[in-house]
Symmetry: D2
Subunit: 336 residues, 4 copies
Amino acid sequence: MLIVMNHKAGPKQIEAVVKAVEQMGLTAAPIPGSERTAIGVLGNHGYVDDTTIRDLPGVQEVIHVSKPYKLVSRDFHPRHTVVKVGDVAIGEGKRPVVVAGPCAVEGEEQIVRTARAVKKYGADLLRGGAFKPRTGPHTFQGLREEGLKLLAIARRETGLPIVTEVMSPDTVGLVAEYADLLQVGARNMQNFELLKELGRIRKPVLLKRGMSATLEEFLAAAEYILAEGNGQVILCERGIRTFETATRNTLDLAVVPLIREMTHLPVMVDPSHATGKRSLVAPMAKAALVAGAHGVLVEVHPEPDKALSDGPQSLTFHGFEALMGEIRRLNEFLGF
Amino acid sequence: MLIVMNHKAGPKQIEAVVKAVEQMGLTAAPIPGSERTAIGVLGNHGYVDDTTIRDLPGVQEVIHVSKPYKLVSRDFHPRHTVVKVGDVAIGEGKRPVVVAGPCAVEGEEQIVRTARAVKKYGADLLRGGAFKPRTGPHTFQGLREEGLKLLAIARRETGLPIVTEVMSPDTVGLVAEYADLLQVGARNMQNFELLKELGRIRKPVLLKRGMSATLEEFLAAAEYILAEGNGQVILCERGIRTFETATRNTLDLAVVPLIREMTHLPVMVDPSHATGKRSLVAPMAKAALVAGAHGVLVEVHPEPDKALSDGPQSLTFHGFEALMGEIRRLNEFLGF
Amino acid sequence: MLIVMNHKAGPKQIEAVVKAVEQMGLTAAPIPGSERTAIGVLGNHGYVDDTTIRDLPGVQEVIHVSKPYKLVSRDFHPRHTVVKVGDVAIGEGKRPVVVAGPCAVEGEEQIVRTARAVKKYGADLLRGGAFKPRTGPHTFQGLREEGLKLLAIARRETGLPIVTEVMSPDTVGLVAEYADLLQVGARNMQNFELLKELGRIRKPVLLKRGMSATLEEFLAAAEYILAEGNGQVILCERGIRTFETATRNTLDLAVVPLIREMTHLPVMVDPSHATGKRSLVAPMAKAALVAGAHGVLVEVHPEPDKALSDGPQSLTFHGFEALMGEIRRLNEFLGF
Amino acid sequence: MLIVMNHKAGPKQIEAVVKAVEQMGLTAAPIPGSERTAIGVLGNHGYVDDTTIRDLPGVQEVIHVSKPYKLVSRDFHPRHTVVKVGDVAIGEGKRPVVVAGPCAVEGEEQIVRTARAVKKYGADLLRGGAFKPRTGPHTFQGLREEGLKLLAIARRETGLPIVTEVMSPDTVGLVAEYADLLQVGARNMQNFELLKELGRIRKPVLLKRGMSATLEEFLAAAEYILAEGNGQVILCERGIRTFETATRNTLDLAVVPLIREMTHLPVMVDPSHATGKRSLVAPMAKAALVAGAHGVLVEVHPEPDKALSDGPQSLTFHGFEALMGEIRRLNEFLGF
């Protein structure tokens, strides 16, 4: 266990923590750092309860090093990671970004029109699915490589970097040829062979949280990518599965500040998939930014009523324009 | 209501279903399909009890259109309900309110000191538990009537209206003598005898969502109070129970705009119970306001480390002062 | 923490456990008992991780005494509790019982006919709801005291002891006048004022698990009843709330052997509410008995299609007769 | 499909919906109701993508009748599917099978010793993981191809067909060279590229239910395999993720009879992963068989305390011998 003191913590507070640890029959080893002091806890076998520790004055965080991740954790990498996608910088201290586009690439006219529209209203990146994971085999599965080519055309037309999903290890190379940011969908968050493959490329990865993944499992999945050598990972909360059926998923917004506390990686939010309902996208997008998200993904479609997937959660161009106006004002309020 | 017959269902079975529907004084409209027949049910007002139907031979599924609530629904009551608590107005178009105070009333000095502090920093109402629902019987259960008296003293000292929980029908009268706003806790959201009793008083009620209540059940619980004649109900999201253990509960913020769409009642958010973690209270409180909440409840304690309950999620006076500064700026941004 | 050795554990195994505890920096205090040895663990503050202990040879159970219950726990009460309801004994070593009857008492003819039928086919107790908790206020709420009187008539006619639900503290006295076994429904599992009131009476209580109650919360709720002096408590698993909608609830059958390990109280299962589907009642009832349940509750109605509630999960008399035949054979197989 | 209009929807909106339905080549049948109009949709085969509809003005809700699967459904394939693995027949009317072995293949001595033991006590198939999905990258990931070779040795020594997991499309060929039954783990249930690849081979597949997969999603995942031409699929319930932490997962046993009603495929149960606790494996294995499972998977390890994974839920040889004795008696009782 590692006890991280906040950088204002003085000798008295550190001493009090050391005492508390010793009262647990464990050994405390203070590690003075340049920014702050950490206190290593020795002598425990497996998990140690921290309730007598975590609320002591000066304690910033208690880290259980028995956790299944390490490289993503802030205590092993105190500096923020800022991910560059094309010319766009995503992360702490940067203006939150907006990734916009249709759920699926359906044709050249659809994706190029959408790219021009979202560019015009201020989107930073273009999203669009070429490889589509669908619950059943009898629905539209995406245009695959053809879709990637259409995304490239849309990029050429607008200059927007493109974000698209990759579904299997053997297509990572292909998708990486076209995409600026490779997305791992919720269903593949624990597709470990895919994660390892993505750890070996030189392009940034957007990792979506699994539908029923705990925060710990989410970070451990990111650890697979970092462990293979690729540190350019953005985490994305997109709603978890609960008993509630009024929304498509339950947006777990509290993980945004938590991820910022626990890791050095940027965190984004997808209010479209989280809620499944157009009218909830704007309020949840703004809530995400106020909660500290480094960006949002929103689905936009020229004619949502005719979309081949996710129409009900897609914004029209007009709706996106309105949202961007609100986001611009909010970013100013937030100091960006 | 739609009755879906299985694909083997013959004319006799369909006829029997039609008869059963008509015996309920309703109209049946068979819709022959290519694979199976469906039977539309017309003429009902609100929810239909389908128990006489869904089990007839050949019936595959019964699908409901109506909901178990009506009075809380915006369909039937388009105008917003604004709830007055003392001089404080809560609801659409009003400045969002802040309810602050300790989880439990522990003594006069504690509650009065807290009341003065939260008043000073701008709270609108004082919260404090006198009757405490606790998981087990061996922990502090609250000061009960003595706690109510101390809350009354704190109100006299500060002028803040008080919010406190009521746990059983037979104590509604007692709690109503002291409280300005009576709270129903998550565990009692479906304590229907309690809800009915609260429907018969003349004081406003703060109804917290049950730990595993769907939005529909939440609204149906409020319906019990309105159905008895008390329309002064405020709904409160306080986090739901999911598989995630990184936070105490999962704050389901998307229900805030949804409740505003579906009902005419004010909606508040409790980020303290939802997250269980002090550092998450401010970001989630601000996110709630941006999402459209009409107010927030936050736990504040003079010495969180010594609190008899919920210490880790309680703000210090200093932390509360900081939060109120942020909320003031945010309210200005939101136009209040 | 208390480490319970199984009664065959020898000195060497005990010594190995003591060593392991000391390696954790804690103190081990063996407590030789008449049946088995327990080892108290001292020196810890709060919860202790037991992964290095619980799998050592001879270890039967590791008990965290920091849990919110004590009286219900087997380590403080090694002997089984057998609950007598009328002449029927429920618990370890007794033939598993069958509680049968309609969800709600609807009238004299309905309840008496059902009582005679279930008696004829071998039921041990009669169930029927007089006070009915319903999601919304606009559906049938039960016959209340009139329903209790009808249950008493059915008992007089058949000799079957009766089980019925109580919903609020102020009606405990009334219900106790009529019922042989008072049921607390899932929605009221944490209605603590009700639990305390039931702890003060001299009649047995059937406590149903809350829809989203952890096993720990379930046992802590029972602790409220025992703490007030009533040890005659039967626990009942009736399905928990999950994301799955194919069944009404998700029957958590694994808690049956777990409750038998952890507590001295009898445990029953309600497959009717757990599944909400008639065709699943028989397989789940039998599965419950094989898993070690001390009894099952099944809903039976003379005309399920006309039932005022829960028709789809109610067995017909014919279906119940068939189930009882299967249960009789299964009980023989199980040695009863 | 039923389209429910909101109660304010006018003739124009209804007309627009009817047009949109007709544009899909389907028939629209409006059903005027007292409060609102519903529109029945006819002529579709299977699931209809409602994205062009559910968002039109005035539409309140779209309700589906058809499901995202068809080939797995009993409606379209009334005869039972019996899957042959080597000489072992799995399915309706056959003696339930027992698949036993360690979570992971750790070495030749371990897997061969275990194979001999489980064979001796009556197991039908040998399980063992060569490719291991693990939450984090810093734990044992399996022996991979080396593990497959060791499984082949164990098969040669005992004659037991082998079951092992495949994790990615590109290793399907390799795993299929060695395995008699290819397992898809819970984390990969919606790894659609993997499912499609498995649909193209001539070997049977054991598909485990995803941790948070609804029954509908589970069957739709199987549909991917059948849709590609491989009908030799066995479904396996292994526990779902819920709020309960007393067990590793929550075993959803009610899906066993439900799957038997809804599909023609065999269904098995894995009580080891479902409970995570050795003492619960035997009661849940027996409960599964009584509930109608066509087989069970149980983890067995020569020295569970030294297992590289899942030790606490693995049976010792002695424990497995005892379980097989109970299963043999139970199968006789069940008529096998």
